[in-house]
């Protein structure tokens, strides 16, 4: 998967988890949870979706890497290059 596809995928996953939120203006460099109503259980849903859809296991120590869209893409890109 390429960077842009990963970004689209993440937004799609977030939309599924918090369907009431408007994601059209989500900024890449600002903490996602500061832009939309999303709590820690929702965040764990993102982790679970990555595991279910792509068998990507994000260890707890790496959770911070998923805090913004940009950092998520940077973190996932090498892990999803063959997907």
């Amino acid at each position: 998967m390429k960077a842009e596809e990963i970004r689209t995928m993440i937004i799609e996953v977030i939309h599924e988890i918090v369907p009431d939120e408007d994601l059209s203006n989500l900024k890449g460099d600002i903490r996602i949870r500061d832009q939309i109503e999303m709590d820690s259980m929702d965040f764990l849903d993102v982790v679970m979706e990555l595991r279910k859809r792509y068998s990507i296991v994000v260890p707890e120590d790496d959770y911070m890497e998923l805090s913004t869209l940009d950092s998520s893409v940077a973190y996932l890109e090498p892990r999803m290059k063959d997907i």
Partner: protein
């Protein structure tokens, strides 16, 4: 009795397989309209069941639906509808003085089965087990969802009481008002049971799951050919208030809860016990300070199992004697067994009789079982009567839990 020790029903919110508010529910009861159909379940395929078609998004966000449970959604819908029906504005009442008391037959089966079904596709790897499982399955979950949705900060909990739970939710609300613990109770019961294949499978293997080529004829209490229970979902939440508070705000009063009782068979896991049912009914009559001959309508619990219906009929015959003028009906024949909701739903479907003097019928009796041939059993057509002053509602459950609620017409 002082007005602050008398408890009245001032609002009703409900969803049933044949109606999403009291007027629709009542209209369909009088019209003989069943709400039973077929649904798909895990492992068992198509089964006969009753499900509700209210729109949960009226009161909940999509995220809340995703995070919560069907029981929580039903409880939230019914609670809002009850508050609106009572003409209360949530913003102008002290939410710390509202108590939420919701009867459940079971909770957590649906959510647990769904998780097991989910991890099956991952070779039972529990890394795929949802972190939402615990908050969804704690026993207070349906009531807790209501508090979060409505911002209620008073006490909330569910009452696990098998199929007697709907009545027991009402009784708990009444008792908390009498104790002065709360000033307003949202009380009743809910069921999400059609979501669990396990309940269907267990009833089937016990020989107690209804079967009929026409789903709408499957729930047939008192019929000679009845063959078991139709599992349904539903909910009914009542606003309960002290009479003094209700009068002070000129609230509409559906009726006053004047009698109630709960007892135990101490007998068997599933079999009913007519003797204990008689005792429970008599306890409720005593609390109401009336005799059996004062009861105008008995809303039966009968679930259409061969033994259960017979036992309740024996109990009613014993209580009423031979010279009774009480009319007798059954709501499960229309909507199936709404489990935790059934006690409250079946009671409120009869409350309009105080005003219209019509007793709704029991449908699906083609051949009345002679052992269930109660005098004044209202069969297949509604019955116009001269007066309705007292309604008695039976609700019994597994492990031998019996409950009875008596509501009196409010004369103002």
């Amino acid at each position: 009795m002082n007005d602050n020790t008398r408890i009245v029903i001032t609002g009703i919110g409900l969803t049933a397989p044949n109606g999403n508010n009291l007027s629709e529910f009542r209209k369909n009861l009088l019209a003989g309209k069943s709400g039973i159909g077929k649904i798909e379940t895990h492992y068992m395929g198509e089964v006969i069941a009753g499900v509700c078609d209210f729109d949960p998004l009226i009161y909940q966000k999509k995220k809340a639906l995703r995070r919560g449970t069907r029981a929580g959604s039903i409880a939230t819908y019914c609670s809002h509808e009850a508050i609106a029906d009572a003409k209360l504005n949530l913003d102008s009442v002290d939410k710390s003085r509202i108590g939420i008391y919701i009867g459940i037959t079971e909770h957590g089966n649906v959510e647990t089965e769904n998780e097991i079904y989910n991890i099956k596709q991952y070779d039972y790897n529990v890394d795929f087990w949802s972190h939402h499982h615990n908050p969804r399955t704690v026993a207070n979950s349906p009531a807790g969802e209501v508090t979060m949705n409505m911002g209620v900060t008073g006490p909330h909990y569910t009452l696990g009481a098998a199929c007697a739970a709907g009545n027991i939710g009402l009784i708990q609300g009444l008792q908390m008002l009498l104790l002065g613990e709360v000033d307003l109770a949202l009380a009743g019961g809910v069921s999400e049971t059609p979501g669990t294949f396990g309940v269907f499978a267990a009833f089937k293997n016990e020989g107690a799951l209804a079967n009929h080529p026409d789903p709408q004829k499957a729930s047939r209490p008192f019929d000679r050919d009845r063959n078991g229970i139709v599992v349904s979902e539903g909910g009914c939440i009542c606003v309960l208030e002290r009479l003094s508070d209700a009068l002070a705000r000129s609230a509409r009063i559906y009726g006053e809860i004047v009698g109630y009782a709960i007892n135990s068979d101490a007998f068997d896991f599933i079999l009913p016990n007519a003797e204990r049912q008689v005792e429970c009914i008599n306890l409720a009559l005593k609390k109401a300070g009336i005799s059996a001959s004062d009861i105008d309508i008995i809303s039966t619990h009968a679930t259409a199992t061969p033994e259960g219906d017979k036992a309740e009929c024996q109990a009613i015959k014993k209580v009423l004697g031979n010279n009774s003028n009480s009319y007798i009906n059954n709501t499960k024949s229309f909507i199936g067994h709404t489990m935790g909701a059934s006690g409250a739903l079946e009671l409120v479907g009869n409350l309009p009789s105080f005003e219209d003097h019509i007793v709704h019928q029991t449908i699906n009796i083609d051949n009345l079982d002679p052992e269930c041939a109660l005098k004044n059993l209202v069969i297949n057509e509604p019955k116009k009567v001269d007066k309705v002053d007292y309604i008695l509602n039976n609700s019994f459950g597994m492990l031998g839990i019996n409950s009875v609620v008596i509501v009196k017409r409010f004369k103002g």
